[in-house]
């Protein structure tokens, strides 16, 4: 069965299965919003095809719109409208909207329902935007950085809501530059950078089941060719990735042998470790290995 969308991102196909949460992860300016807006029909792709629920988002706009829910960055409400009034208005435009009071409670809008939009905090505006995206009981929701500007509690509430949407059969596509969000929430993650997709997979696939890592930071810059010499010293089965002139990442078994080799190598190179962090390979490391840059919001 063919379900869901197929999105071309700079020549690469991106496919979303129905009833899953897909995260499009990448730094600012990577093309996340552009990708979503192409699916929502705001932008016409110059080349390639986009299909959402089998429909062309531009040509079949009218047929598609009632079936998708959209949360924009900066959620798009009149400055003088009250929060609940806005949510009710969007609900009225749909045939079978959710109960707005229940929804407001769920996203945590309960105590600011009568507050004009311009007086809502950034986090409250985000919650309203999320409620507006799901109130029409859509089949697919596109949420653009849903938790930007939210406090930790609101982020957790949002994650719970998105997970429940998925469990009830809604397809969720979200963008984020928070690694933990993608790792906790998504069934599938697509990492994009400079408008092209650089990796896809489940969180477990991408982090290779949480392979061990060592992050080494030294007090003065490495001599030339340092990463290559460490790679040679460690041999196969361990991967050395330079981060910058004073730090690098070692991916592989963090056992006594590896640690001892790293220590000995530091001595040979005449550099002193400032910090040595042992951890598990996470999405941040994946991004670093793929691009040679750190993923910063």
């Amino acid at each position: 069965m063919r379900y869901g969308d197929k999105v071309a991102v700079d020549g690469l196909d991106l496919r979303v299965e129905r009833g899953t949460i897909t995260a499009v992860l990448g730094p600012n300016g990577a093309g996340k919003t552009t990708t979503l807006e192409t699916c929502e029909g705001y932008r016409k792709p110059q080349a390639g095809t986009v299909r959402v629920l089998g429909l062309d988002p531009v040509a079949d706009h009218r047929a598609l719109l009632p079936r998708i829910g959209v949360m924009l960055q900066g959620s798009g409400a009149w400055s003088g409208v009250r929060a609940m009034e806005m949510l009710r208005h969007i609900a009225t435009l749909h045939a079978n909207p959710l109960d707005v009071d229940m929804l407001a409670e769920r996203v945590g809008l309960g105590d600011c329902g009568r507050t004009p939009y311009r007086r809502l905090s950034g986090g409250q505006q985000q919650r309203l935007g999320l409620a507006m995206a799901v109130v029409g009981r859509p089949e697919v929701v596109f949420v653009d950085e849903p938790t930007a500007g939210m406090d930790p509690l609101a982020r957790r509430t949002t994650w719970e809501l998105l997970t429940e949407l998925r469990d009830d059969g809604v397809t969720v596509v979200l963008t984020t530059h928070y690694m933990d969000e993608a790792e906790r929430l998504a069934d599938q993650i697509h990492i994009i950078d400079h408008g092209r997709m650089i990796a896809s997979g489940s969180p477990l696939e991408l982090t290779r089941g949480g392979t061990a890592t060592i992050r080494l930071v030294v007090t003065k810059p490495f001599p030339d060719g340092a990463p290559a010499s460490l790679q040679a010293a460690l041999g196969d089965g361990v991967e050395v990735t330079p981060i910058n002139e004073v730090s690098l990442l070692v991916t592989g078994p963090a056992d006594h042998t590896t640690l001892a080799t790293v220590g000995r190598w530091c001595e040979e190179q005449g550099v002193l470790p400032e910090s040595l962090n042992l951890g598990q390979r996470n999405l941040e490391d994946v991004f670093l290995e793929l691009t040679g840059r750190e993923l910063k919001p």
């Binding site: 705001y42 009632p66 924009l72 959620s75 798009g76 009149w78 409208v81 959710l98 799901v134 809604v170």
Partner: protein
């Protein structure tokens, strides 16, 4: 599977969507202090002030009628202009700025429905304006030309004036930034109120009379006076309004940017 969020998508009947949009926009317009000032307070002040000035200073507004009879049609025309042009332009300018139009573009409400909803909101606000201004005018002894024809002509003139000014308001809002729209819409309103033959008949401006009746403000003012003072259809003025409406719509359709 039937959870809380189980998909059940669909747009509401179009008529309900348009009605919701119209009522929403009308409420927002009336909630805004400046717009309420523009819509109701200024026209009422012009009406009362004009009649008082006539009484004490002996102005006759270039018309043989009682001051209240001479002024009320023009004040109604002013009210239409303030809502259809200035309020609409400012509201739409800020809707573009705040991404409201973009957000509604992702809702089941089609663009045409949004436009019809906006026009509906204008009529709701204008209805309120006509009721308030007429009530004040009747209380001051207004005695318009009677009859069904007068009422129908008045309504038709309001419709045509709304079409002409709304197309021009959207032209401004769709091309300028929100702040520039705010400034331009208010400035044009003030200039037309003072010198556009809307409140006062074109004949009272002396040599400018011919030019002024080609402005949408002059044409609307004259057509309203024709309808409410004489019960007459001023065909030339109605045609001028229609021409502005067509011209405004054509240019706006080509230049308007939704975002």
């Amino acid at each position: 599977m039937s959870g809380t969020f189980t998909p059940m998508p669909g747009g509401a009947p179009l008529l309900r969507q348009v009605a919701a949009q119209a009522s929403m926009e009308a409420r927002l317009m009336l909630r805004n202090g400046e717009q309420l000032l523009l819509a109701v307070v200024i026209p009422v002040i012009v009406l009362i002030g004009g009649v008082q000035a006539a009484k004490h200073e002996g102005f006759d507004f270039g018309l043989p009628q009682k001051p209240i009879d001479a002024l009320t049609p023009g004040v109604l025309a002013l009210a239409v202009m303030s809502t259809a042009f200035t309020s609409l332009a400012i509201a739409t300018g800020f809707e573009r700025r705040y991404g409201v139009i973009k957000r509604l573009g992702a809702s089941p409400l089609p663009r045409a429905g949004l436009l019809v909803g906006k026009i509906g909101a204008l009529f709701l606000v204008e209805l309120l304006q006509v009721v308030v201004i007429s009530a004040v005018a009747f209380a001051m002894g207004w005695n318009p030309h009677g009859g069904v024809v007068t009422v129908l002509l008045g309504l038709e003139t309001v419709l045509l004036g709304t079409a002409a000014f709304a197309s021009l308001g959207l032209l401004v809002a769709g091309t300028l930034r929100a702040e520039a729209t705010l400034a331009a819409a208010n400035l044009i309103y003030l200039l037309l109120m003072a010198g556009g033959a809307v409140v006062l008949p074109a004949s009272s401006y002396g040599a400018g009379e011919q030019v002024l009746t080609f402005l949408p403000s002059g044409a609307l003012g004259e057509a309203m006076r024709g309808a409410l003072i004489h019960g007459d259809c001023y065909g030339r003025d109605q045609l001028v309004l229609l021409a502005w409406a067509v011209l405004g719509t054509v240019i706006t359709a080509r230049t308007f940017k939704w975002e």
